[in-house]
């Protein structure tokens, strides 16, 4: 994405291209049930919506608070103007990740390498003791894992940062 081209006035199109965003009238309903609004610094969805609409590029790039979201979607439920604030949070993270590689979450490398964020299927003794079957994981299926990786290679985040996924 070339940020030089679009004027900052239209930054919202690069981040969260939906007309609904402009219906936000700062009511703060999205904050009332938000767990992460209790953080320090607090995640203030209302302010993020403002920053996107106003096109405050620097501020948005350096804002860590979208990553404190617990994904509970209460804001999404409560927002009276259908801004879909949780989707906006994800959109801001996507835009940050695309413009600053240090934002790319390490968990996607785990998923690329073994299919999961946790080591699934290696606790065979414990599983056995509990009477559980062996899991047919993708980690243990080289052919399927290769298919999965090749698919991901064609997606923006993996192709743009392929050095992270080497080996």
């Amino acid at each position: 994405m070339d940020l030089q081209q679009g004027s900052i006035k239209d930054l919202w199109k690069a981040i969260y291209n939906t007309g609904d965003l402009h219906h936000c009238f700062n009511c703060s309903t999205c904050l009332s049930g938000c767990p992460a609004s209790h953080g320090d610094p607090p995640l203030l969805v209302r302010n993020l919506a403002r920053k996107v609409i106003l096109g405050l590029e620097e501020e948005l790039l350096n804002d860590d608070t979208p990553w404190a979201c617990v994904s509970c979607s209460k804001c999404e439920e409560m927002c009276p103007m259908d801004v879909k604030p949780f989707e906006m949070i994800l959109a801001i993270r996507q835009w940050q990740s695309a413009n600053d590689e240090t934002r790319v979450p390490p968990s996607i490398v785990e998923i690329y390498k073994r299919g999961y964020t946790q080591a699934v299927g290696v606790n065979t003794d414990l599983r056995d003791k509990l009477g559980l079957p062996e899991l047919k994981t993708i980690t243990n299926n080289p052919e399927q894992l290769q298919f999965f990786r090749e698919m991901l290679m064609k997606t923006p985040v993996v192709s743009a940062n392929d050095y992270m996924f080497g080996g």
Partner: protein, 294 residues
């Protein structure tokens, strides 16, 4: 009825006794479970959904193709997995261009996705498909005399348009009725619908505040209820609500927070007569006070 079991990562890796409880109980109630071979991470919201639409939906599409191939719907316990799969499917169903792009990405892998398989939460299957009366009729060992409180997984409530199954997401009834079906008394309290705060980056980015936030909930439970146990239906709620109690005890210097936490299917398994060693053996807050009374 057949359902395809989507386990996610945390349950099979860290809390396989919950997996055991699900696998033990559902067939008793008429739900046959089929395994999801070669599934991958749902994807978690903090992973591909935070980087770009293609990698997010391609990963959802990979998983959905597994259930479609088996010809049934998914059943999921982890709240985040449930919500992520529902949202991914919703995006594809409402945007033909996104569905087409996902199929283009899936094509070389020999997979396709149409959206014909739905994604269901285990508590919804228990509540709507099976029903509290049927469950009550199967109980061999009741929870009579015990008080519990329920933690509704927010990921099954909000946004109700995408993930919901309750008549009102603001006054949900499912978990309460399911626990009552096992014979327990379910106490209400002021912060019943407050999120546990355990998912996503809140705990990672500002742990102090996240623990304080959880404390308000636990203080309300202690002050307002006679809870002998907490029933959840999400692996993150389960692990977080145990861990936070231990952290809080260290802070206050006494064992004030020690309410056992169970996944609903674990309680159900115990009431159906399954061996606690298999279905409820892994915990960070002792469950003896409850297990000794069932």
């Amino acid at each position: 009825m057949e359902l395809c079991l989507f386990l996610g990562c945390n349950t099979p890796a860290i809390r396989p006794d919950v997996e055991r409880a699900i696998r033990a109980t559902m067939p008793v109630l008429g739900i046959d479970l089929v395994d999801s071979d070669n599934y991958v991470c749902c994807p978690a919201f903090g992973a591909f959904p935070s980087t770009d639409i293609d990698s997010w939906l391609a990963t959802s599409g990979w998983n959905l193709s597994i259930a479609e191939e088996k010809g049934c719907d998914f059943v999921v316990q982890c709240g985040s997995c449930y919500s992520s799969l529902r949202m991914g499917r919703e995006h594809m169903m409402h945007h033909a261009d996104k569905m087409a792009r996902v199929n283009e990405l899936l094509e070389p892998t020999g997979r396709t996705v149409t959206g014909k398989s739905k994604v269901r939460h285990v508590s919804e299957v228990l509540y709507k498909e099976i029903g509290p009366e049927t469950i009550a009729g199967q109980v061999k060992k009741s929870l009579k005399g015990l008080h519990g409180i329920v933690q509704y997984p927010c990921h099954t409530l909000f946004p109700s348009e995408v993930v919901g199954f309750e008549e009102s997401a603001r006054a949900p009834k499912g978990m309460r009725q399911l626990v009552e079906a096992l014979g327990a008394t379910v106490d209400s309290y002021s912060r019943e619908l407050q999120c546990c705060g355990g998912a996503g980056g809140f705990m990672k980015s500002t742990p102090e505040q996240a623990i304080e936030f959880a404390k308000t909930k636990f203080d309300a439970i202690l002050d307002e209820t006679k809870a002998d146990f907490i029933a959840v239906s999400c692996i993150t709620c389960l692990m977080h609500m145990e861990n936070v109690q231990n952290t809080l005890n260290k802070r206050v210097g006494e064992e004030r927070y020690k309410i056992p936490v169970f996944d609903y299917n674990q309680l159900l398994a115990l009431c159906l007569g399954f061996d606690p060693k298999q279905v409820a053996s892994i915990c960070n807050v002792s469950r003896d006070s409850v297990l000794s009374r069932i």
